[in-house]
Amino acid sequence: MKEREAESMNDQNEKIRKIFADVLGIPVEKIDDDLQYNSIPEWDSIAHMALITALDKSFDIMIETEDIIDMSSFGKAKEILQKYEVVL
């Protein structure tokens, strides 16, 4: 992988992490691919919709209902966002 691509991937990765941290109100360090929906009190169904809204807005996309349901971890969220051509 070219250096620049790797860099941009990292940027996007960090952007998504930051959105998660901001919306859930937890430190960025606590967010890794294994962080699961409903595994911490901060990430409940209400926060989940807030996350979707934030992701929609930040990347100017509209995540489909089915993907909202599938977004069961931070890792999964990144995977889903690829579908919407959010460069990763």
């Binding site: 409940d44 169904s45 809204t53 349901i69």
Partner: protein, 361 residues
Amino acid sequence: MNLERFFQEEPFAWGADEKNGILSDALWKLTEKHRKACEMYRRILEALPNGTFNSKRIDQVPTLPIGLFKRYDLKSVSPKAVVRVLTSSGTTSQTVSRIFLDKETSVLQTKALTCIMRSFIGPKRLPMILVDSQNVLERKDSMNARGAGLVGLSLFGRDHFYMLDESMRVRWEELGAFLKEHAGEKILIFGFTSMIWQYFLEEARAGKRDISVRNGLLVHGGGWKKLQSLGISNDEFKKAIRNQFQIEQIHNFYGMAEQVGSIFMECERGYLHVPNCSDIIIRDGRSLEALRNRKKGIIQVLSVLPQSYPGHSLLTEDEGMIEGEDDCRCGRKGKYFQVLGRLPQVELRGCSDVYAYGESH
């Protein structure tokens, strides 16, 4: 339990021949599962007359009165597996139902709801107005049916706008701005029936507010009991909403905290429809015998969703009548029915009545 087949097809695609075998199988398996996993449920079943368990018929699946969930903590999973305790609304002195959801059940509920809602509103998330106050969502430890309904339906919307402020007054200015921003778009409006009536319609009438939501698609439910006590029928509700806001598409739904997800949606012909993953039986109030179509009786609701609590077959406290099966003029298959009211001598209860009685759970 693998229930994927219930959600793979259109939720109203199965005719009786196709549905009954699959549904009966799933419901009896659930009965067995809960019998093994829930001590209280097992004891209740043991107290029932013999012979019941050799049957494969849906109308023989043991049924619990819905009120049991108010008195007992019925669950089929360990406390550690519980991801959410859902509480039904309660009014006056009575206690509320407590429904224990594990991850599996909660996922199934969302799947069923998505499947049903999408067949009515389409695949795209719509700009959404919630006729409620965002404050309802503030308590995180346990959620009442009203909050769960709001969050659950939020999945089908975007740019969510809670149109009531914390003192349940309409935010008229923001509402106007929202409608302007989404002019020409289809807008999803969701709320509980009595709240829409009391806090939106009556306020608009009193303040002579001309708000038109021609492209609106209104989904409402949960509060018809309150309206019934005011003598307002579903038809009158629709007419009033159409007159005031020009909303053409209006769908009532019937559902309960004890079986979240498998809701019954009102079709274009005005009937509530039973989706693939659930069933309705009307029973005689005295003998509890299953009644034929077009006979009034107590509504029994069956659903394949409840995995973590024995709530897959419940006798409600509502009166209803099945109109027919597989032949509604709207084109949907399955049973279609009407809810006629509350059985006499049971306390008033409906998720959206909570606020009216000044208490939230």
